[in-house]
């Protein structure tokens, strides 16, 4: 008892001494809390021109050279698997976009031009990593193994959609593949991803959270919240910003005035890298390093993937109204698929014939599952009322009964035939 009291007094004394040292005025070093800096006699405003822009990491050089990092080369089957998924998204996008034009689905968003961001990063993650996405990350889910038919079920909102047909198309989600269901409000997933990462840290898991968002979404307050929480609470989360130049019609020039999204990272104390998002291997290796770092250090990482949104924002948008066809055409020549294909051909593992074969078989398969999804009935109308809460509360139950009675009388005015009848 006496000993512990003495010890406490000693530590108290120590602390007092330390504080005297810390706040002494004799030293000409700033002692402001939380800032480690020096005094200066010059008036100098700091801006992005005081230091160089954050460079863009790449592997595929424009000369056609490929400078692989010291890590050993990925094996061919792995590379081909990545390529196959990139091709699959691009074909699925074309077919689904057309389906919308034909009025078969209500909405769609393509991933054109961003296939490398998605597949490159997804390939470097493990199934234990939890993914929070915005909406243009179909490739991430596909590369995790999500079956084609499930994408279609969601877009059609049929009875086999895991989401029970409640959300708009492309709002995918899968518990099995650790991909948290997408929601429309932008950036809300960012602070959530940080909370999920804190949970991984608490559980001492050998995994991280991967959180995707666009450069437009980065302007939302939730992005600020997430970066700051992730840094101060030391959370193993990788923030993937898809900087594709546009948020619907708003170009990046109107979105920010600093050095993009990457420059924000260090300001929050987050380790940051900018990557050529059209370079699938650069995305892969940057993500791999980020993942290793953030799990080992239990800290966040920010990756800004520079890319270009080749397609329209969505099926409700005609992007030629606000950008030139020349601009789009110019970016098409840097399209990630072509660059990856060149690399595979240079390795001697890919050729025109195999390409054609892949295109044909993929197209056929997608059309097949599309037809299958289209044929399925929609869920029972009562699914409108479930999952609001875990259990249906009395007041909602009453409303189910009201609707049931109403349908008994007016059933011919509702499309009940397209919905499952028995529950």
């Amino acid at each position: 008892m006496i000993a512990s009291n003495l010890l406490r007094k000693l530590t108290h004394l120590q602390r007092v001494l330390l504080q005297i040292k810390k706040y002494g005025t004799a030293v000409d070093k700033p002692q402001f809390l939380g800032i480690n800096s020096i005094f200066t006699n010059d008036i100098q405003f700091v801006n992005k021109d005081n230091y160089g822009s954050i460079p863009i990491y790449r592997i595929f050089e424009s000369s056609g050279n490929v400078k692989l990092p010291d890590d050993k080369k990925l094996d061919n089957a792995y590379l081909l698997n990545m390529y196959r998924d990139m091709v699959t998204i691009s074909i699925m996008d074309k077919i689904m976009y057309e389906s919308h034009r034909q009025g078969r689905i209500s909405f769609y968003m393509t991933n054109t031009g961003e296939e490398a961001v998605q597949i490159g990063s997804a390939a470097a993650l493990t199934p234990e990593d939890t993914v929070y996405a915005q909406y243009r990350e179909t490739g991430v889910l596909l590369h995790r193994g999500y079956p084609l038919i499930k994408f279609m079920n969601q877009c059609y909102g049929n009875c086999e959609d895991d989401g029970k047909g409640r959300q708009m198309p492309v709002h995918y989600g899968s518990k099995e593949f650790n991909f948290v269901t997408i929601s429309s409000p932008l950036t809300t997933q960012l602070p959530q991803a940080v909370g999920a990462a804190y949970a991984l840290k608490l559980d001492k898991k050998d995994a991280c959270v991967a959180c995707y968002f666009g450069e437009g979404a980065a302007s939302e307050g939730d992005a600020h919240a997430a970066f700051n929480f992730a840094a101060t609470l030391s959370c193993p989360v990788i923030f993937f910003c898809r900087n594709n130049g546009y948020a619907i019609s708003t170009s990046a020039v109107e979105q920010f005035k600093g050095d993009g999204i990457a420059a924000k990272g260090p300001a929050y104390g987050i380790d940051t890298i900018r990557v050529d998002g059209n370079d699938v291997l650069a995305m892969y290796y940057a993500t791999k390093s980020a993942r290793d770092f953030c799990i080992k250090q239990q800290k966040p990482v920010l990756i800004e993937a520079m890319t270009y949104r080749l397609g329209h924002h969505s099926t409700s948008d005609d992007s030629t109204v606000y950008r030139s066809t020349e601009e789009i055409a110019q970016w098409s020549t840097y399209a990630p698929l072509a660059r990856f294909r060149d690399y595979l051909e240079s390795l001697g593992v890919w050729c025109q014939e195999r390409e054609q074969e892949l295109l044909n078989s993929t197209r056929k398969e997608i059309l097949r599952v599309l037809a299958e999804a289209e044929k399925k009935l929609k869920p029972h109308w009562k699914e409108l009322f479930t999952d609001v809460y875990k259990e249906i509360p009395d007041h909602v139950r009453k409303q189910v009964n009201l609707m049931e009675k109403h349908l008994e009388e007016f059933r011919e005015h509702y499309p009940l035939d397209s919905f499952i009848h028995k529950k």
Partner: protein, 373 residues
Amino acid sequence: MLGKLSARLRYAGKRLFLNCNATSADFKHVRLIHFTYFPSNGRNVVGETQKLNMYQAINHGLALALENDPRTVIFGEDVAFGGVFRCTMDLKNRFGAARVFNTPLCEQGIVGFGIGLANMGVTAIAEIQFADYIFPAFDQLVNEAAKMRYRSGGMFDCGKLTVRAPCGAVGHGGLYHSQSPEAYFAHTPGLKIVVPRGATHAKGLLLSCIDEPDPCIMFEPKVLYRTAIDEVPLERYKIEIGKAEIVREGDAVTLVGWGTQVHVLLEVADLVREQLDVSCEVIDLISILPWDAELVCESARKTGRLVIAHEAPMTNGFGAEIAATVQAECFLHLEAPVRRVTGWDCPFPHIFEQFYLPDKWRCFAAVRDILNY
């Protein structure tokens, strides 16, 4: 152990910056509170009880939750040193900085972060320092927390999220330390909302919210933190969400309120008995969403008269929902129009607080009027 903790809490309580108990009468600039507290003792709980005020009871509840499940965390602004209302006193020391911690000052971040934790099955107890500051998190609560289970077809949910926020009048809180925002959230399917009227209820409701498989918000009337002293059961107990409570039986008029207002209404019932010689049935709604329409309607059918009172403004306040439901369900039993006695449709003022609140005289006048209708 608990006695020692309680002594420390009492000491800390003396330093509470919001003086709202009897000692504050020493200071002329802080007026007396506008109600008399009616303790809620003798709940049907066996076992030891202890005299605790509401912040101590909440502290007990939080400690029990942390003890009960190691995957439980508490976070928010300034919770680590004990919280500006002392609700999290000593918890960091007892359970570690990884489980009880400060966040940056950002409400949308706090709730978003809590949703993420809850997604992973961690019990997340978030604190918003004042209910007045919950609005930056409105999007996360309304678009995200409330809809997560529904939109994912039940694959993902954040049922393990509980948000606590001090609410209501405190004597001198002005615009941004006095609000009662329950009606904003009551319009959101997917959320559950409760308001305790004292220490016993705060602990029981908190433990219910934490266990509830849906995201919950508990609005804690901050004026009760120190004034509401009950004999609180020390063991774990819960108060069911969605159930109202008849605090006093009567047959002439039904009075419905929640939080601090229940105590105002109990005083009104005394006044009515004294001056008009009839009895009022006083109901503590307790749970705003889902709310106990059955109990309220049953009482309204019995008495034929209903007064609803809440501190929040009248237009679109939760009283409107109750009034609409009661007129639909009890139309043939009503002897007089349903009356709402509420805060005025103005921001919550500083020096005019006494004229703003639906105090016992305004409630008494309403009861008298509908008795004479």
